[in-house]
Amino acid sequence: MGERDGIPISIDELNKMKAIAERARKNVIKMQFYDQSVHVGSSLSSIDILTVLLFRYIRDSQDKINKDWLILSKGHAAPALYSVLHEKGLIKEDELWKIQSIDGLLQGHPEIFIPGVDMSTGSLGQGLSFGIGVATGIKMAGGSGRVFVMMGDGEQDEGEIWEAMTHAIARKLDNLIAFIEINGYQLDDSTSNVKPKEFLEEVWRAVGWRTFSCDGHDILSIINAVEEAQKAKKPAVIFAKTLRGKGFTPIENSKKQRATPDVTREFLFSS
């Protein structure tokens, strides 16, 4: 268990976390000035959940079986992860602006040589299986570590998700919490136009997972869901309703990943 698990959040802590998420959000939006290909929309969808996990739940340590693991299976939200890791002091500010450049540390998708990254991802659908491996290894060794896996709704199209979803139940894991962000968009189109996904929660529940839901942009709602998920005693999945591009009005709730530098500049000056 993390130190603050189960402890009610104070107004101070809540405000602090909100401020962190806002700063991280601004930094993701700013990245567009430096690189015109980062996935801003997908990142803004994940930023509040990542903030809660990294600032309230994740215990980092060199001790692999007694630390908590954060696996960003939707690796294209890397800018959000980097911005929150910057708030943690693990990534320097100038590295944020060098994202994806030839002399920079930060890759387009997470790599384990980047501080704070637990799995190299980028190809969708692989994080949950890896997380099951980590969680199983921790239990075999009697460790206290927990595994958090962040997935997207588009990612649920992958066949490996089914393989992993059913596997986690067979392993009887109680140290695994998955997030599925429901932001309603995937690369080409809205998720409902590509493949309807309304049935997802029902499927995960039918397979044997404890399912929870939250507002993925409301810090309190996210915390409540994690607290409940931890009591599940079996694999738990939290369906988090989010908005693609949350907080960046020029692209909010659309399939757009980014805006032009002019639009971005105007937005940042006026906000």
Partner: protein, 312 residues
């Protein structure tokens, strides 16, 4: 060489792996529902708490193994060669890219799954594995070399692809005495006029061919290149210089496989004429692996013809 009896590669594999599991409690065996066919289930009998059948889920199996390795376990993924390839991208993007300590050990490679036909016959896997950065690729010649090499390859830290067949395992190294070393080729037979190089069961055909060639006054060396990657450049260059001609043999496609790997060294170090014997298409069903090898012309006779082509 050529002494000893026919035995089973998978039997040797299952038994040796189970024995090694007694000393190393970190070894975990994971399979995608082919535990009995691969003989991985021998491990289950002795070490049930360290054996996982994840079901018919190859992609999940590979990433699951990567997760276990990341927290210090030594996972051995056991599958049919063909179906491990279903998870090539997971092997590429997680195991090899993160350079984690996962051993991928496959049975039923080449034509060894004779009855099941072309869907089950892996003739492309060496090419797919050796292209991956951080990946070591080992193809033991026979059951005896499985017993000899398995303890060594499990000592390696990092990703490894280990390829064996099923029950057809003609005696190639069983009468020999040597220590298996990753990256080191072994000489099965000395010779001056031609070097026949390769890995796996066809080395038996190579030795048969060498005996026939001797009767014609041609002295053929036969080299077991059991580590495809990192390949023994020194041995390949030595025999290229010594014999001036090379024939490669493999139960795998000649495009991108063992012959290709050897030729990459030859053109760089000491170019000599070469011929390649192996598969060029898909397999088919047959009652035995030997029937398939004969059907596709992977025989001592074919090797002799290629040798004569280079010598005349």
């Amino acid at each position: 060489m050529l002494r000893g009896s026919f035995s089973s590669a998978r039997e040797a594999f299952g038994k040796t792996l189970t024995k090694l599991g007694e000393d190393d409690k970190n070894i975990i065996v994971i399979t995608a529902d082919v535990g009995d066919s691969s003989r991985a289930s021998y491990f289950k009998e002795k070490h049930p708490d360290r054996y996982f059948n994840v079901g018919i889920s190859e992609q999940d199996m590979v990433n699951f193994a990567a997760g276990l390795a990341t927290v210090g376990k030594k996972p051995v993924v056991v599958d049919f060669a063909m179906f491990a390839m279903r998870a090539w991208e997971q092997i590429r993007n997680t195991i090899a890219r993160m350079n984690v300590n996962v051993k991928i050990m496959v049975t039923h490679s080449g034509y060894s799954d004779s009855g099941d036909g072309s869907s089950h016959q892996a003739l492309e896997d060496i090419a797919l594995m050796r292209v991956l950065p951080n990946m070591t690729v080992v193809v033991p010649a026979d059951a005896a070399e499985v017993e000899r090499s398995l303890p060594e390859v499990l000592k390696l830290q990092g990703p490894l692809y280990y390829r064996i067949g099923r029950d057809y395992s003609p005696p190639i190294t069983s009468s020999m005495d040597y220590n298996f070393q990753i990256g080191k080729a072994t000489v099965l037979r000395e010779g001056d006029d031609i070097a026949i190089m390769g890995a796996g069961v066809l080395l038996w055909d190579a030795l048969k061919a060498a005996e026939e060639l001797e009767k014609m006054g041609i002295s053929a060396a036969v080299i077991n290149v059991s580590t495809i990657k990192p390949i023994d450049e020194q041995a390949i260059e030595y025999y290229a210089r010594k014999t001036g001609r090379i024939v490669t043999v493999e139960e795998h496609s000649i495009y991108g496989g063992i012959g290709s790997a050897i030729s990459e060294v030859v053109v760089k170090k000491y170019p000599v004429p070469m011929r390649f014997l192996g598969a060029t298409g898909y397999g088919r069903s047959a009652r035995s692996q030997r029937d398939l090898l004969d059907y596709f012309g992977l025989t001592p006779k074919s090797i002799e013809s290629l040798v004569l082509e280079l010598i005349r």
